[in-house]
Symmetry: C2
Subunit: 341 residues, 2 copies
Amino acid sequence: MKVTINDVASHAGVSIKTVSRVMNNEPSVRKDTYDKVMAAITALQYQPNAAARNLASNRSFSIGYIYDNPNAYYVIDMQRGLLDACRKHGYELLIHPTNAKSPDIVQEVIDLVQQSRLAGLVLTPPFSEMPHIAEALEKIGVHFVRIISGSTPSPKLSNCVLVDDFTAAFKITNHLLELGHTDIAFLCGDEEHSSSGERLAGYQAALTKRGITPNSKFIVPGSYSFESGVKGAKQLMSLSKKPSAIFACNDEIAAGALFSARLMNIAIPQQLAIAGFENSPFSRQTWPPLTTAHQPNVTIAQQAAELLFRHTKPNASKTLSDKQPVFIPELLVRESTAVSE
Amino acid sequence: MKVTINDVASHAGVSIKTVSRVMNNEPSVRKDTYDKVMAAITALQYQPNAAARNLASNRSFSIGYIYDNPNAYYVIDMQRGLLDACRKHGYELLIHPTNAKSPDIVQEVIDLVQQSRLAGLVLTPPFSEMPHIAEALEKIGVHFVRIISGSTPSPKLSNCVLVDDFTAAFKITNHLLELGHTDIAFLCGDEEHSSSGERLAGYQAALTKRGITPNSKFIVPGSYSFESGVKGAKQLMSLSKKPSAIFACNDEIAAGALFSARLMNIAIPQQLAIAGFENSPFSRQTWPPLTTAHQPNVTIAQQAAELLFRHTKPNASKTLSDKQPVFIPELLVRESTAVSE
DNA sequence: TATAGAAATGACAGCGTTGGTCATTCATTA
DNA sequence: TAATGAATGACCAACGCTGTCATTTCTATA
């Protein structure tokens, strides 16, 4: 029933220490010994006892995912990607939703890491953008990977997976420009999330490139929520000079803007084009479906975990390129920005 | 830095055995001794080494949550509730999304439990409704709690949290009837989920009570998805005798029906009333917002975990009522079923 | 072929806790 | 005050693995 390392050792005719070496990819194991041990492991279907491993080695085989994100789709996708990688490497995933604005968030994170002896941590915004979190983690010497907004890899960001929001936002804005829009408004997300700033910058850059000076009234602060979109669109459409297109910082905001337009009896896309960002499942389900930028969250998460394991596993093959992955969300055109007839 | 049980023992002036007794809620500890130990634990911020505990006691302090549900909101809510309970009791949560239709799903679940030495398991539909899963779990003697559709507690369902879909569906149908609708259609969810059957039964019962014989053409099979709603509504509205109201088995289906109505230029609610089920966040964000039934998923999950811990923890106080919780989702009237003028 | 040096392997203690067995101390009641 | 049972402690052996270091076995060179 319960197969221990002893069983494997005697089955393979080696000492338990050698089995342990094989299990941990330690060097100094001859090829044929390695094969013998592997054969025994397979034959007996040996699965190491995680608790014993943790206790003896004083490290755990789980990584943590800390998040504070109201977007269920995003979180589920991240979990999916992280779990994929964890299963592949024999790790477990500990999820830890929490409140990023809590005053003792740093301590909370440290407690989590130390209590569960985590091997590493994956951070998404807003945690990935909080310098004091990164500092604290470095201080206690825990590996971590951040998923952040950015386009240019740099040594300073060696433990980051980058999502190039700037370029993607540039593309979306460009799409609107190509449709003939010149009065394009921008609905911001949370200021704390650098993605909002990056997307805004991409938007501005695209306008500038066309020789259009962004109208400050067309840039509306807000947060990553439906309600923010409702409010923002209402505000924009009560300006004396109204925009003919709205680029919302994410799909939720865009959905809110869509809702707002309905309330105001504004036809989409005839009177107003609306674009979102993220390609949430519901962006296909709104009326009309939203033009957006597809962010491959599952893949992003997988890469983040892989990057983490590369630093976590002591004897892993480092042959994989250590260069940082950069993801550029892709433009996805749907009816909410169709050419007005 | 690292506080062990020894430190607590000497700080409290007792033996480590007594500290162990306190940690494990064993009987035969005097109140003041207990307090002394607890004080020491607090003072030193002692956190037992989970790995050592697991190893020595051959049980773990984590429970698993197995699911296969495309509904991100539902899953996130469940996780939230389970985590709340876990934190309260010092347990960890292991999430395990997987494919319920996989042929060796039973083995997969068993492997998970044995590999991670799980203390217990929480199952939601469809897993909670698969008899062979329950049998297998009972056979290997693992505690588990199921969240299922049902209204009447019974000893056979002692490890279940019930959600009374029947009554809730009855109420929704009744609401439509009270608005004057008599031609009410029903869009089913997945057959495998008993919730779909229960809701259908509630719908039928409400009609029958009013002396209306459910029209078989008004009952459309489907699945819990947006696409299913799109298709179902289209099918219904091409009948020679069209319904004046649609009760969709969940909000996603309802959103699909809404979308479909838009495509067909059918005004909601004037020409067609639509109701959903679940109170997903997006049910407030559709146009018009959906009438639905609120299902308190976070609370349901908390109760499920509490129920599990009651059986898992050997010496926990069993004073809490052991009766099964039954949740009745509440009717939430919004514009999608407003009175037609 | 001998031999240094490196590589491969093994013996054994110990990780921090629980569980068991008694022996001892304490509090309560007759 | 003695008798009784409850509370506590001392002690040791697990739990299944890893770390350390000693030992054996190879490999390459002279």
